[in-house]
Protein backbone atom coordinates (compact mmCIF):
# COMPACT_ATOMS: atom_id res chain seq x y z
CA UNK A 1 0.00 0.00 0.00
CA UNK A 2 1.52 3.27 -1.12
CA UNK A 3 1.26 6.03 1.44
CA UNK A 4 -0.14 9.11 -0.29
CA UNK A 5 1.53 12.33 0.81
CA UNK A 6 0.18 15.73 -0.12
CA UNK A 7 0.49 19.41 0.70
CA UNK A 8 -2.22 19.90 3.35
CA UNK A 9 -4.55 17.77 1.20
CA UNK A 10 -4.68 20.52 -1.39
CA UNK A 11 -5.29 19.57 -5.04
CA UNK A 12 -2.25 19.17 -7.30
CA UNK A 13 -4.31 20.00 -10.40
CA UNK A 14 -6.81 22.74 -11.11
CA UNK A 15 -10.40 21.70 -11.58
CA UNK A 16 -11.70 22.35 -15.09
CA UNK A 17 -13.34 25.78 -15.15
CA UNK A 18 -15.94 24.60 -17.66
CA UNK A 19 -19.55 25.18 -16.62
CA UNK A 20 -22.81 23.40 -17.58
CA UNK A 21 -22.57 24.57 -21.19
CA UNK A 22 -19.66 22.24 -21.97
CA UNK A 23 -21.18 18.86 -20.99
CA UNK A 24 -24.44 20.03 -22.59
CA UNK A 25 -22.46 20.69 -25.74
CA UNK A 26 -20.91 17.21 -25.54
CA UNK A 27 -24.50 15.99 -25.79
CA UNK A 28 -25.72 18.41 -28.47
CA UNK A 29 -22.56 17.98 -30.55
CA UNK A 30 -23.05 14.22 -30.34
CA UNK A 31 -26.66 14.55 -31.49
CA UNK A 32 -25.57 16.84 -34.34
CA UNK A 33 -22.76 14.57 -35.50
CA UNK A 34 -24.64 11.27 -35.37
CA UNK A 35 -27.82 12.82 -36.85
CA UNK A 36 -25.82 13.96 -39.90
CA UNK A 37 -24.84 10.35 -40.55
CA UNK A 38 -28.34 9.04 -39.78
CA UNK A 39 -29.97 11.51 -42.14
CA UNK A 40 -27.93 10.65 -45.23
CA UNK A 41 -27.92 6.91 -44.44
CA UNK A 42 -31.71 6.88 -44.14
CA UNK A 43 -31.98 8.72 -47.47
CA UNK A 44 -29.60 6.22 -49.07
CA UNK A 45 -31.94 3.39 -48.14
CA UNK A 46 -35.07 5.26 -49.22
CA UNK A 47 -36.39 6.36 -45.83
CA UNK A 48 -37.08 10.00 -46.67
CA UNK A 49 -39.32 10.54 -43.63
CA UNK A 50 -36.58 9.64 -41.17
CA UNK A 51 -33.91 11.36 -43.22
CA UNK A 52 -35.69 14.70 -43.17
CA UNK A 53 -36.36 14.59 -39.43
CA UNK A 54 -32.80 13.60 -38.60
CA UNK A 55 -31.61 16.45 -40.83
CA UNK A 56 -33.68 18.97 -38.86
CA UNK A 57 -32.70 17.52 -35.49
CA UNK A 58 -29.02 17.59 -36.48
CA UNK A 59 -29.23 21.15 -37.79
CA UNK A 60 -30.98 22.33 -34.62
CA UNK A 61 -28.27 20.69 -32.49
CA UNK A 62 -25.64 22.26 -34.74
CA UNK A 63 -27.13 25.70 -34.12
CA UNK A 64 -27.30 25.23 -30.35
CA UNK A 65 -23.79 23.79 -30.02
CA UNK A 66 -21.69 26.86 -30.88
CA UNK A 67 -23.96 29.03 -28.74
CA UNK A 68 -23.25 26.81 -25.75
CA UNK A 69 -19.51 26.87 -26.41
CA UNK A 70 -19.36 30.62 -26.90
CA UNK A 71 -21.37 31.20 -23.76
CA UNK A 72 -18.84 29.17 -21.74
CA UNK A 73 -15.88 31.30 -22.87
CA UNK A 74 -14.38 33.79 -20.44
CA UNK A 75 -14.31 36.25 -23.36
CA UNK A 76 -17.24 35.25 -25.61
CA UNK A 77 -16.62 38.14 -28.02
CA UNK A 78 -13.32 36.50 -28.93
CA UNK A 79 -14.88 33.18 -29.99
CA UNK A 80 -13.48 33.57 -33.53
CA UNK A 81 -9.93 33.36 -32.14
CA UNK A 82 -10.57 29.58 -32.21
CA UNK A 83 -10.37 29.78 -36.00
CA UNK A 84 -7.29 32.01 -36.34
CA UNK A 85 -5.05 28.89 -36.34
CA UNK A 86 -5.28 25.21 -37.19
CA UNK A 87 -3.57 23.09 -34.51
CA UNK A 88 -3.65 19.30 -34.48
CA UNK A 89 -2.17 19.32 -30.97
CA UNK A 90 -5.33 21.02 -29.72
CA UNK A 91 -8.43 18.81 -29.86
CA UNK A 92 -10.49 21.90 -29.04
CA UNK A 93 -9.13 23.72 -32.07
CA UNK A 94 -9.69 20.72 -34.36
CA UNK A 95 -13.17 20.35 -32.86
CA UNK A 96 -13.99 24.01 -33.49
CA UNK A 97 -13.15 23.49 -37.18
CA UNK A 98 -15.13 20.24 -37.35
CA UNK A 99 -18.15 21.89 -35.71
CA UNK A 100 -17.79 24.89 -38.02
CA UNK A 101 -17.84 22.71 -41.14
CA UNK A 102 -20.48 20.25 -39.90
CA UNK A 103 -22.71 23.03 -38.57
CA UNK A 104 -22.39 25.07 -41.76
CA UNK A 105 -23.17 22.04 -43.93
CA UNK A 106 -26.09 20.68 -41.93
CA UNK A 107 -27.81 24.03 -41.45
CA UNK A 108 -27.37 24.78 -45.15
CA UNK A 109 -28.88 21.41 -46.03
CA UNK A 110 -31.78 21.89 -43.61
CA UNK A 111 -32.50 25.37 -44.96
CA UNK A 112 -32.47 24.18 -48.56
CA UNK A 113 -34.72 21.26 -47.61
CA UNK A 114 -37.13 23.65 -45.95
CA UNK A 115 -37.19 25.95 -48.99
CA UNK A 116 -37.22 23.03 -51.41
CA UNK A 117 -34.57 24.56 -53.67
CA UNK A 118 -31.07 23.80 -55.03
CA UNK A 119 -31.22 20.03 -54.60
CA UNK A 120 -27.66 19.33 -55.88
CA UNK A 121 -26.18 21.84 -53.41
CA UNK A 122 -28.30 20.35 -50.64
CA UNK A 123 -26.98 16.88 -51.43
CA UNK A 124 -23.41 18.20 -51.39
CA UNK A 125 -24.04 19.85 -48.00
CA UNK A 126 -25.49 16.59 -46.66
CA UNK A 127 -22.46 14.69 -47.87
CA UNK A 128 -20.06 17.13 -46.16
CA UNK A 129 -22.11 16.92 -42.99
CA UNK A 130 -22.09 13.08 -43.24
CA UNK A 131 -18.29 13.07 -43.42
CA UNK A 132 -17.76 15.53 -40.55
CA UNK A 133 -20.50 14.03 -38.37
CA UNK A 134 -18.57 11.05 -36.94
CA UNK A 135 -15.52 13.15 -35.96
CA UNK A 136 -17.90 15.65 -34.33
CA UNK A 137 -19.55 12.83 -32.37
CA UNK A 138 -16.27 11.37 -31.10
CA UNK A 139 -13.61 14.11 -30.83
CA UNK A 140 -14.98 15.34 -27.51
CA UNK A 141 -13.72 12.06 -26.03
CA UNK A 142 -10.21 13.06 -27.11
CA UNK A 143 -10.82 16.61 -25.88
CA UNK A 144 -11.32 15.54 -22.28
CA UNK A 145 -8.77 12.70 -22.45
CA UNK A 146 -6.06 15.13 -23.58
CA UNK A 147 -5.75 16.69 -20.12
CA UNK A 148 -3.89 15.90 -16.91
CA UNK A 149 -7.13 14.83 -15.16
CA UNK A 150 -6.49 11.16 -14.19
CA UNK A 151 -10.06 9.87 -14.65
CA UNK A 152 -10.12 11.36 -18.15
CA UNK A 153 -6.56 10.79 -19.36
CA UNK A 154 -6.35 7.18 -18.18
CA UNK A 155 -9.65 6.45 -19.98
CA UNK A 156 -8.30 7.73 -23.30
CA UNK A 157 -8.83 4.31 -24.94
CA UNK A 158 -12.53 4.21 -24.09
CA UNK A 159 -13.72 7.83 -24.08
CA UNK A 160 -14.05 8.44 -27.86
CA UNK A 161 -15.92 5.11 -28.16
CA UNK A 162 -18.12 5.90 -25.16
CA UNK A 163 -18.96 9.34 -26.53
CA UNK A 164 -19.54 7.85 -30.00
CA UNK A 165 -21.98 5.26 -28.60
CA UNK A 166 -23.71 7.94 -26.54
CA UNK A 167 -23.99 10.18 -29.61
CA UNK A 168 -25.49 7.37 -31.69
CA UNK A 169 -27.97 6.56 -28.93
CA UNK A 170 -29.04 10.17 -28.49
CA UNK A 171 -29.36 10.85 -32.24
CA UNK A 172 -31.48 7.70 -32.60
CA UNK A 173 -33.58 8.63 -29.58
CA UNK A 174 -34.09 12.21 -30.78
CA UNK A 175 -35.24 10.91 -34.17
CA UNK A 176 -37.70 8.56 -32.40
CA UNK A 177 -39.27 11.60 -30.73
CA UNK A 178 -39.97 13.38 -34.01
CA UNK A 179 -40.45 10.58 -36.54
CA UNK A 180 -43.64 8.49 -36.94
CA UNK A 181 -42.94 4.98 -35.57
CA UNK A 182 -43.57 3.35 -38.94
CA UNK A 183 -40.48 5.05 -40.37
CA UNK A 184 -38.35 5.11 -37.23
CA UNK A 185 -37.08 1.52 -37.11
CA UNK A 186 -33.42 2.46 -37.82
CA UNK A 187 -33.57 5.20 -35.18
CA UNK A 188 -34.91 2.73 -32.60
CA UNK A 189 -32.19 0.22 -33.41
CA UNK A 190 -29.62 2.98 -33.08
CA UNK A 191 -30.98 4.18 -29.74
CA UNK A 192 -31.18 0.70 -28.22
CA UNK A 193 -27.86 -0.45 -29.69
CA UNK A 194 -26.16 2.75 -28.59
CA UNK A 195 -27.40 2.38 -25.02
CA UNK A 196 -26.21 -1.26 -24.86
CA UNK A 197 -22.79 -0.41 -26.34
CA UNK A 198 -22.41 2.53 -24.00
CA UNK A 199 -23.20 0.38 -20.96
CA UNK A 200 -20.49 -2.11 -21.97
CA UNK A 201 -17.98 0.65 -22.68
CA UNK A 202 -18.68 2.33 -19.35
CA UNK A 203 -18.00 -1.00 -17.67
CA UNK A 204 -14.76 -1.49 -19.64
CA UNK A 205 -13.66 2.03 -18.74
CA UNK A 206 -14.22 1.48 -15.03
CA UNK A 207 -12.34 -1.82 -15.17
CA UNK A 208 -9.34 -0.09 -16.70
CA UNK A 209 -9.49 2.87 -14.34
CA UNK A 210 -9.57 0.82 -11.15
CA UNK A 211 -9.29 3.08 -8.09
CA UNK A 212 -9.10 6.17 -10.30
CA UNK A 213 -12.59 5.34 -11.57
CA UNK A 214 -14.19 5.30 -8.12
CA UNK A 215 -15.28 8.93 -8.66
CA UNK A 216 -18.01 7.51 -10.92
CA UNK A 217 -19.56 6.05 -7.76
CA UNK A 218 -19.03 9.05 -5.49
CA UNK A 219 -20.69 12.42 -5.04
CA UNK A 220 -22.30 14.24 -7.94
CA UNK A 221 -20.64 12.07 -10.60
CA UNK A 222 -21.95 8.96 -8.83
CA UNK A 223 -25.54 10.26 -8.75
CA UNK A 224 -25.34 11.36 -12.37
CA UNK A 225 -23.97 8.07 -13.65
CA UNK A 226 -26.69 6.13 -11.78
CA UNK A 227 -29.29 8.46 -13.28
CA UNK A 228 -27.72 8.03 -16.72
CA UNK A 229 -27.92 4.25 -16.46
CA UNK A 230 -31.51 4.20 -15.20
CA UNK A 231 -32.84 6.77 -17.67
CA UNK A 232 -31.17 5.38 -20.77
CA UNK A 233 -31.92 1.74 -19.90
CA UNK A 234 -35.57 2.59 -19.14
CA UNK A 235 -35.89 4.62 -22.31
CA UNK A 236 -34.26 1.92 -24.44
CA UNK A 237 -36.56 -0.71 -22.98
CA UNK A 238 -39.61 1.43 -23.73
CA UNK A 239 -38.44 2.03 -27.30
CA UNK A 240 -37.78 -1.66 -27.84
CA UNK A 241 -41.08 -2.84 -26.39
CA UNK A 242 -43.59 -0.18 -27.41
CA UNK A 243 -41.80 2.18 -29.75
CA UNK A 244 -42.90 0.31 -32.87
CA UNK A 245 -46.63 0.52 -32.20
CA UNK A 246 -47.32 3.50 -30.00
CA UNK A 247 -46.17 7.04 -30.74
CA UNK A 248 -46.45 7.92 -27.05
CA UNK A 249 -44.00 5.16 -26.11
CA UNK A 250 -41.61 6.29 -28.86
CA UNK A 251 -41.70 9.90 -27.67
CA UNK A 252 -41.32 9.04 -23.99
CA UNK A 253 -38.63 6.44 -24.68
CA UNK A 254 -36.71 8.86 -26.88
CA UNK A 255 -36.89 11.62 -24.30
CA UNK A 256 -35.71 9.25 -21.54
CA UNK A 257 -32.73 8.03 -23.58
CA UNK A 258 -31.75 11.61 -24.42
CA UNK A 259 -32.03 12.57 -20.74
CA UNK A 260 -29.84 9.58 -19.85
CA UNK A 261 -27.20 10.55 -22.42
CA UNK A 262 -27.20 14.11 -21.13
CA UNK A 263 -26.67 12.76 -17.60
CA UNK A 264 -23.79 10.61 -18.86
CA UNK A 265 -22.00 13.66 -20.27
CA UNK A 266 -22.51 15.50 -16.97
CA UNK A 267 -21.28 12.42 -15.07
CA UNK A 268 -18.03 12.45 -17.07
CA UNK A 269 -17.72 16.21 -16.52
CA UNK A 270 -18.16 15.96 -12.76
CA UNK A 271 -15.95 12.87 -12.51
CA UNK A 272 -13.19 15.04 -13.98
CA UNK A 273 -13.75 17.77 -11.41
CA UNK A 274 -13.75 15.27 -8.55
CA UNK A 275 -10.64 13.58 -9.92
CA UNK A 276 -8.79 16.91 -9.93
CA UNK A 277 -9.99 17.89 -6.47
CA UNK A 278 -8.45 14.98 -4.53
CA UNK A 279 -4.64 14.89 -4.72
CA UNK A 280 -4.56 11.13 -4.16
CA UNK A 281 -5.84 10.47 -7.70
CA UNK A 282 -2.86 12.37 -9.08
CA UNK A 283 -0.15 11.42 -6.58
CA UNK A 284 -0.83 7.74 -5.96
CA UNK A 285 -0.59 6.37 -9.53
CA UNK A 286 2.43 8.56 -10.24
CA UNK A 287 4.19 7.54 -7.03
CA UNK A 288 3.47 3.87 -7.71
CA UNK A 289 4.79 4.22 -11.25
CA UNK A 290 7.89 6.03 -10.02
CA UNK A 291 8.54 3.37 -7.38
CA UNK A 292 8.00 0.56 -9.87
CA UNK A 293 9.72 1.87 -13.01
CA UNK A 294 11.88 4.64 -11.60
CA UNK A 295 11.43 8.27 -12.61
CA UNK A 296 13.53 10.93 -14.29
CA UNK A 297 11.44 13.65 -12.64
CA UNK A 298 13.68 13.55 -9.58
CA UNK A 299 17.45 13.12 -9.36
CA UNK A 300 18.89 12.15 -6.01
CA UNK A 301 22.52 11.56 -6.86
CA UNK A 302 24.68 14.19 -8.48
Amino acid sequence: MTEVQSYYGRPVLKEPTWTWEVPTYFFSGGVAGASSVLSLSAKLFGNEELSRRALYVGAAADVVSPMLLISDLGRPERFHHMLRVFKVTSPMNVGAWVLFVNGGASTTAALLELLGILRPLKLLAELVSFLFGPPLATYTGVLVADTAIPVWHEARQELPWLFGASAAASAGAAACVFCPPAHAAPARRLAVGGVVAEGLLMHAMELRLGETGEVYHRGTAGKLSSAARALSAGGALLLARGGRRRRSAAVLGGVLVCAGELCLRFAVHHAGKQSARDPKYVVKPQRERANRDGTRATIRTA
Binding site: Y8, L73, G74, P160, R287
Partner: protein
Protein backbone atom coordinates in the same frame (compact mmCIF):
# COMPACT_ATOMS: atom_id res chain seq x y z
CA UNK B 1 7.76 11.05 -26.87
CA UNK B 2 5.06 10.34 -29.40
CA UNK B 3 5.85 10.67 -33.08
CA UNK B 4 3.44 13.60 -33.23
CA UNK B 5 5.49 15.57 -30.76
CA UNK B 6 8.78 14.71 -32.41
CA UNK B 7 7.58 15.85 -35.81
CA UNK B 8 6.43 19.24 -34.59
CA UNK B 9 9.07 21.94 -34.69
CA UNK B 10 10.29 23.01 -31.32
CA UNK B 11 8.76 26.45 -30.90
CA UNK B 12 12.09 27.76 -29.68
CA UNK B 13 13.99 26.59 -32.76
CA UNK B 14 11.57 28.40 -35.06
CA UNK B 15 12.93 31.83 -34.09
CA UNK B 16 16.05 31.42 -36.24
CA UNK B 17 18.40 34.37 -35.81
CA UNK B 18 16.16 36.00 -33.21
CA UNK B 19 16.44 33.03 -30.89
CA UNK B 20 17.88 33.80 -27.46
CA UNK B 21 19.51 31.28 -25.12
CA UNK B 22 16.84 29.38 -23.18
CA UNK B 23 16.49 30.91 -19.73
CA UNK B 24 14.77 29.74 -16.59
CA UNK B 25 14.78 29.50 -12.82
CA UNK B 26 16.69 27.23 -10.52
CA UNK B 27 14.81 27.43 -7.23
CA UNK B 28 17.05 26.09 -4.48
CA UNK B 29 14.65 25.46 -1.59
CA UNK B 30 17.49 24.59 0.82
CA UNK B 31 18.25 28.31 1.24
CA UNK B 32 14.69 29.65 1.09
CA UNK B 33 13.80 31.59 4.24
CA UNK B 34 10.09 31.98 3.43
CA UNK B 35 10.15 35.79 3.26
CA UNK B 36 7.68 35.85 0.32
CA UNK B 37 9.56 38.76 -1.28
CA UNK B 38 9.17 36.82 -4.56
CA UNK B 39 5.39 36.73 -4.18
CA UNK B 40 5.24 40.45 -3.48
CA UNK B 41 7.70 41.48 -6.21
CA UNK B 42 5.81 39.37 -8.74
CA UNK B 43 2.47 40.88 -7.79
CA UNK B 44 3.85 44.42 -7.94
CA UNK B 45 5.76 44.16 -11.18
CA UNK B 46 3.05 42.29 -13.06
CA UNK B 47 0.19 44.40 -11.64
CA UNK B 48 -1.65 41.28 -10.45
CA UNK B 49 -4.92 42.03 -8.66
CA UNK B 50 -5.33 41.03 -5.05
CA UNK B 51 -7.44 37.92 -4.52
CA UNK B 52 -8.50 38.23 -0.94
CA UNK B 53 -6.81 37.39 2.34
CA UNK B 54 -7.49 34.01 3.84
CA UNK B 55 -5.95 32.53 6.96
CA UNK B 56 -5.31 28.91 6.06
CA UNK B 57 -3.73 27.64 9.26
CA UNK B 58 -1.17 25.84 7.09
CA UNK B 59 2.04 27.02 8.72
CA UNK B 60 3.03 30.44 7.29
CA UNK B 61 1.29 29.79 3.98
CA UNK B 62 -1.70 32.09 3.55
CA UNK B 63 -1.37 32.18 -0.21
CA UNK B 64 -2.32 28.56 -0.75
CA UNK B 65 -1.56 27.85 -4.38
CA UNK B 66 -0.44 29.10 -7.75
CA UNK B 67 -3.37 30.50 -9.71
CA UNK B 68 -4.38 33.31 -12.05
CA UNK B 69 -3.49 35.90 -9.40
CA UNK B 70 -0.51 34.15 -7.81
CA UNK B 71 2.48 33.40 -10.00
CA UNK B 72 4.94 32.74 -7.17
CA UNK B 73 3.76 30.78 -4.17
CA UNK B 74 5.86 29.95 -1.14
CA UNK B 75 4.95 26.60 0.41
CA UNK B 76 5.69 25.95 4.11
CA UNK B 77 5.95 22.43 5.52
CA UNK B 78 6.58 21.63 9.18
CA UNK B 79 7.77 18.10 9.75
CA UNK B 80 9.46 15.89 12.31
CA UNK B 81 12.34 14.65 10.21
CA UNK B 82 16.10 14.92 10.69
CA UNK B 83 17.71 17.67 8.64
CA UNK B 84 20.74 15.48 7.98
CA UNK B 85 21.06 11.76 7.49
CA UNK B 86 24.58 11.52 8.99
CA UNK B 87 23.61 13.06 12.32
CA UNK B 88 22.99 11.35 15.64
CA UNK B 89 19.52 10.26 14.48
CA UNK B 90 17.64 12.73 16.65
CA UNK B 91 14.50 14.04 15.00
CA UNK B 92 13.82 17.72 15.29
CA UNK B 93 11.28 19.99 13.71
CA UNK B 94 12.31 20.87 10.20
CA UNK B 95 10.70 23.70 8.34
CA UNK B 96 10.72 23.36 4.57
CA UNK B 97 10.02 26.33 2.34
CA UNK B 98 9.71 26.32 -1.40
CA UNK B 99 8.85 29.10 -3.82
CA UNK B 100 6.77 27.47 -6.54
CA UNK B 101 6.28 28.91 -10.02
CA UNK B 102 5.18 27.94 -13.55
CA UNK B 103 7.61 25.28 -14.79
CA UNK B 104 7.92 26.59 -18.39
CA UNK B 105 7.99 22.96 -19.58
CA UNK B 106 9.95 21.83 -22.62
CA UNK B 107 6.85 19.91 -23.70
CA UNK B 108 4.14 22.23 -22.40
CA UNK B 109 0.64 20.72 -22.41
CA UNK B 110 -0.96 24.18 -21.97
CA UNK B 111 0.75 25.42 -25.11
CA UNK B 112 -0.10 22.26 -27.07
CA UNK B 113 -3.82 22.27 -26.26
CA UNK B 114 -4.42 26.05 -26.52
CA UNK B 115 -6.94 26.34 -29.39
CA UNK B 116 -6.29 30.00 -30.19
CA UNK B 117 -2.50 30.11 -30.16
CA UNK B 118 -2.67 32.56 -27.25
CA UNK B 119 -0.09 30.44 -25.42
CA UNK B 120 3.21 30.55 -27.26
CA UNK B 121 6.91 29.77 -26.91
CA UNK B 122 8.98 32.93 -26.68
CA UNK B 123 12.42 33.48 -28.17
CA UNK B 124 13.79 32.75 -24.68
CA UNK B 125 12.19 29.29 -24.67
CA UNK B 126 9.61 30.32 -22.07
CA UNK B 127 5.82 29.81 -22.26
CA UNK B 128 3.62 32.91 -22.21
CA UNK B 129 -0.11 33.68 -22.59
CA UNK B 130 -0.94 36.54 -24.97
CA UNK B 131 -3.61 38.44 -23.12
CA UNK B 132 -5.00 40.01 -26.30
CA UNK B 133 -5.59 36.58 -27.88
CA UNK B 134 -6.81 34.39 -24.98
CA UNK B 135 -10.58 33.95 -25.13
CA UNK B 136 -10.87 32.15 -21.81
CA UNK B 137 -11.79 28.70 -23.15
CA UNK B 138 -10.08 27.17 -20.11
CA UNK B 139 -8.57 24.17 -21.90
CA UNK B 140 -5.07 24.83 -20.54
CA UNK B 141 -6.42 24.75 -16.96
CA UNK B 142 -6.95 20.94 -16.69
CA UNK B 143 -4.15 20.26 -19.20
CA UNK B 144 -1.38 21.57 -16.93
CA UNK B 145 0.05 18.68 -14.87
CA UNK B 146 1.04 21.15 -12.13
CA UNK B 147 -2.26 23.04 -11.76
CA UNK B 148 -0.57 26.36 -12.56
CA UNK B 149 -3.02 28.02 -14.92
CA UNK B 150 -6.42 29.30 -13.92
CA UNK B 151 -9.06 31.70 -15.14
CA UNK B 152 -9.02 35.11 -13.49
CA UNK B 153 -12.14 36.45 -11.83
CA UNK B 154 -11.74 39.87 -10.30
CA UNK B 155 -13.44 40.43 -6.96
CA UNK B 156 -16.53 42.60 -7.42
CA UNK B 157 -15.96 46.29 -7.00
CA UNK B 158 -19.47 46.61 -5.68
CA UNK B 159 -22.04 43.93 -5.10
CA UNK B 160 -24.20 44.88 -8.08
CA UNK B 161 -21.49 44.72 -10.74
CA UNK B 162 -19.91 41.39 -11.52
CA UNK B 163 -16.43 42.15 -12.81
CA UNK B 164 -14.88 39.27 -14.60
CA UNK B 165 -11.62 39.13 -16.45
CA UNK B 166 -12.36 35.71 -17.90
CA UNK B 167 -8.89 35.03 -19.34
CA UNK B 168 -6.21 32.68 -18.05
CA UNK B 169 -3.07 34.07 -16.48
CA UNK B 170 0.24 32.67 -15.35
CA UNK B 171 3.92 33.48 -14.87
CA UNK B 172 5.48 35.04 -17.99
CA UNK B 173 8.99 34.65 -16.57
CA UNK B 174 8.79 38.48 -16.76
CA UNK B 175 8.87 38.50 -20.56
CA UNK B 176 8.81 42.30 -20.55
CA UNK B 177 11.82 42.52 -18.20
CA UNK B 178 13.76 39.93 -20.23
CA UNK B 179 13.23 42.00 -23.37
CA UNK B 180 14.88 44.99 -21.72
CA UNK B 181 17.74 42.98 -20.26
CA UNK B 182 16.51 42.60 -16.67
CA UNK B 183 16.10 39.47 -14.62
CA UNK B 184 12.56 38.50 -13.49
CA UNK B 185 11.18 40.41 -10.52
CA UNK B 186 11.07 37.39 -8.17
CA UNK B 187 14.73 36.48 -8.75
CA UNK B 188 15.73 40.13 -8.35
CA UNK B 189 13.89 40.38 -5.03
CA UNK B 190 15.08 37.06 -3.56
CA UNK B 191 17.50 37.91 -0.72
CA UNK B 192 19.11 34.47 -0.40
CA UNK B 193 19.56 33.44 -4.04
CA UNK B 194 17.05 30.69 -3.50
CA UNK B 195 15.59 31.85 -6.83
CA UNK B 196 18.35 31.88 -9.40
CA UNK B 197 17.75 33.16 -12.92
CA UNK B 198 19.93 32.54 -15.96
CA UNK B 199 20.59 30.45 -19.06
CA UNK B 200 19.22 26.98 -18.45
CA UNK B 201 22.54 25.19 -19.20
CA UNK B 202 24.31 27.25 -16.52
CA UNK B 203 21.52 26.73 -14.01
CA UNK B 204 21.60 22.97 -14.54
CA UNK B 205 25.36 22.84 -14.00
CA UNK B 206 25.00 24.98 -10.87
CA UNK B 207 22.20 22.76 -9.57
CA UNK B 208 24.28 19.61 -10.09
CA UNK B 209 27.10 21.15 -8.04
CA UNK B 210 24.69 22.18 -5.33
CA UNK B 211 23.14 18.71 -5.14
CA UNK B 212 26.61 17.14 -4.87
CA UNK B 213 27.46 19.53 -2.01
CA UNK B 214 24.25 18.84 -0.10
CA UNK B 215 24.75 15.13 -0.67
CA UNK B 216 28.29 15.24 0.71
CA UNK B 217 27.01 17.16 3.72
CA UNK B 218 24.36 14.49 4.27
CA UNK B 219 21.22 16.61 3.87
CA UNK B 220 18.10 14.51 4.23
CA UNK B 221 16.03 14.06 1.05
CA UNK B 222 17.95 16.46 -1.23
CA UNK B 223 16.85 15.96 -4.85
CA UNK B 224 16.58 17.88 -8.09
CA UNK B 225 13.07 18.07 -9.53
CA UNK B 226 12.40 18.51 -13.29
CA UNK B 227 16.07 19.05 -14.07
CA UNK B 228 16.38 16.03 -16.40
CA UNK B 229 15.52 16.66 -20.10
CA UNK B 230 14.39 13.01 -20.30
CA UNK B 231 11.57 13.29 -17.75
CA UNK B 232 7.87 13.25 -18.69
CA UNK B 233 7.77 16.93 -19.67
CA UNK B 234 11.17 17.05 -21.36
CA UNK B 235 12.63 18.90 -18.39
CA UNK B 236 11.43 22.23 -17.02
CA UNK B 237 12.66 25.74 -17.66
CA UNK B 238 11.97 26.33 -13.96
CA UNK B 239 13.31 23.45 -11.90
CA UNK B 240 13.89 22.89 -8.21
CA UNK B 241 16.12 21.50 -5.51
CA UNK B 242 13.79 19.91 -2.97
CA UNK B 243 14.43 18.40 0.45
CA UNK B 244 11.59 15.86 0.35
CA UNK B 245 9.43 14.08 -2.21
CA UNK B 246 7.69 16.44 -4.69
CA UNK B 247 4.20 15.52 -3.46
CA UNK B 248 5.07 16.87 0.00
CA UNK B 249 5.32 20.29 -1.65
CA UNK B 250 2.09 19.70 -3.62
CA UNK B 251 4.00 18.81 -6.81
CA UNK B 252 3.23 15.72 -8.92
CA UNK B 253 5.94 13.04 -8.40
CA UNK B 254 6.15 11.86 -12.02
CA UNK B 255 4.34 14.28 -14.35
CA UNK B 256 3.90 13.38 -18.03
CA UNK B 257 2.72 15.84 -20.68
CA UNK B 258 -0.75 14.69 -21.74
CA UNK B 259 -0.08 15.29 -25.44
CA UNK B 260 2.52 12.53 -25.32
CA UNK B 261 -0.40 10.18 -26.03
CA UNK B 262 -2.29 12.46 -28.42
CA UNK B 263 -1.24 10.59 -31.58
CA UNK B 264 -2.70 7.34 -30.30
CA UNK B 265 -5.79 9.21 -29.06
CA UNK B 266 -6.45 10.62 -32.55
CA UNK B 267 -5.97 7.19 -34.14
CA UNK B 268 -8.31 5.67 -31.58
CA UNK B 269 -10.90 8.34 -32.28
CA UNK B 270 -10.63 7.73 -36.02
CA UNK B 271 -11.40 4.04 -35.44
CA UNK B 272 -14.37 4.93 -33.22
CA UNK B 273 -15.67 7.40 -35.83
CA UNK B 274 -15.50 4.74 -38.56
CA UNK B 275 -17.30 2.19 -36.39
CA UNK B 276 -20.03 4.71 -35.47
CA UNK B 277 -20.54 5.43 -39.18
CA UNK B 278 -20.79 1.73 -40.04
CA UNK B 279 -23.20 1.16 -37.15
CA UNK B 280 -25.52 3.96 -38.25
CA UNK B 281 -25.45 2.99 -41.93
CA UNK B 282 -26.01 -0.62 -40.85
CA UNK B 283 -29.02 0.36 -38.73
CA UNK B 284 -30.56 2.01 -41.80
CA UNK B 285 -29.65 -0.79 -44.20
CA UNK B 286 -31.80 -3.33 -42.35
CA UNK B 287 -34.87 -1.26 -43.07
Amino acid sequence: MSTLLQQLPDGHESYGDERQPRVGFFTDTSVCIGCKACEVACKEWNLIPQDGQEWTGHSYDNTGELNANTWRHVAFIEQEKPLRTNGDGTTALRWLMESDVCKHCTHAACLDVCPTGALFRTEYGTVVVQEDICNGCGYCVPACPFGVLDKRKLPSADSLVKQEDGRVWKCTLCYDRLKSGHEPACAKACPTQSIQFGPLDELRARADERLAKLESEGWNGAQLYLRDPDDGIGGAGAFFLLLDEPEVYGLPPDPVVTTKHLGSMWRNMARAAVVVTIAIVGACARD
